[in-house]
Symmetry: C2
Subunit: 175 residues, 2 copies
DNA sequence: CACGGTAGGTTCGGTCATTGAACCGACTCC
DNA sequence: GGAGTCGGTTCAATGACCGAACCTACCGTG
């Protein structure tokens, strides 16, 4: 993909989208960001991505306005990366990709998504079959599905096992 | 992405999906396939993809069951690549990616999609607002939008200017 | 103060994928 | 016989990605 390199003559909006989110790891970073991961180290641990690549991705995602870099502590200076509206708007893409992957290559779902207001499982487009509305991303409740590893090694995966809303920051491991 | 290399410990269905369609060019090849492009040379011309990469992508897409290689002429032997059900199921992914790209980076849409039965423009999830049903991919009518180049250079782009159903093979240039 | 640890990077050599150009074989058309 | 088309393969060069090592602040402990 790369800087300066693009999908040449393709003016198609799919091609433009892929110029932003089509590089390796990028969509997985955004997935984690929507799941509530915000810190460099948490992305690192959870994705197993090379440090240099993560730094590069976070930078371009910030530059393209999908993530916002936010200082949450002055000393030592620490920043977190929070999805912007533009980044949150990727939810339907991630949702449909995940459904496709599960349907055609997966077994049991790792995660379930419900409408926080009524507890109903989301339909294929992120709508609530009971309420008949498209559920806003912050109102989506994520919980582990039947395929989830009950005792994962890394703390980020453990934190993601507890039911939580999308976008809500990860709670640190209690114990 | 690559052979042998994978998104390591990620069992997530999004990660699995990206192992298949996450490589550079792959989703654009599938987009063209859904648009009705079927022949090696047509992909080549329309995408501006390096020949070796196209050959590799077509092979893995065939191996993964998203495309089917079909002999349409014995002498000289010529094959075409037709989307399977699994490949067609990517439509919601491409649709949502395209909408996201257009919404956040694009100007006018290049292509419009309508329900062939009633002529209504498709909603964001590929549903028909008038009929209230999810429109099957073969019943989606594609036509040039306000942003389309009225006189593109390559014959494939010209063929795609004529309104046609998704999946229907490209008609050769008349003139 | 020395020491160890954490968070968030940067740098570096090696490997692997992508690129563009050239080549090739089978066939058709003139 | 010669030119052209279609669907590839091969090749060298470039660029992206990888893993490991290193670096800079800073904090907490003894």
């Amino acid at each position: 993909m790369a800087l300066g390199k693009d999908y040449a003559t393709q003016e198609c909006s799919i091609a433009r989208a892929l110029e932003i989110v089509g590089e390796r790891w990028t969509l997985l970073v955004m997935r984690d960001a929507l799941y509530g991961v915000r810190r460099y180290n948490d992305f690192l641990v959870h994705l197993g991505i090379p440090r240099a690549v993560l730094a590069a991705r976070l930078q371009t995602l910030t530059a393209e306005g999908l993530l916002e870099k936010r200082r949450y502590q002055q000393s030592p200076p620490r920043d977190e990366y929070v999805p912007t509206e533009r980044g949150i708007a990727l939810w339907p893409v991630l949702r449909s990709l995940g459904l496709w992957g599960r349907e055609h290559f997966g077994r049991k779902p790792l995660r379930l998504f419900r409408h926080a207001d009524c507890g109903t499982e989301l339909g294929p487009y992120g709508e609530c079959p009971a309420c008949g509305t498209t559920v806003p991303v912050p109102d989506v409740l994520m919980e582990p599905g039947p395929g989830a590893d009950p005792d994962p090694a890394d703390p980020v995966s453990r934190a993601l096992l507890r039911p939580k809303r999308l976008l809500a920051p990860l709670e640190p491991d209690p114990v």
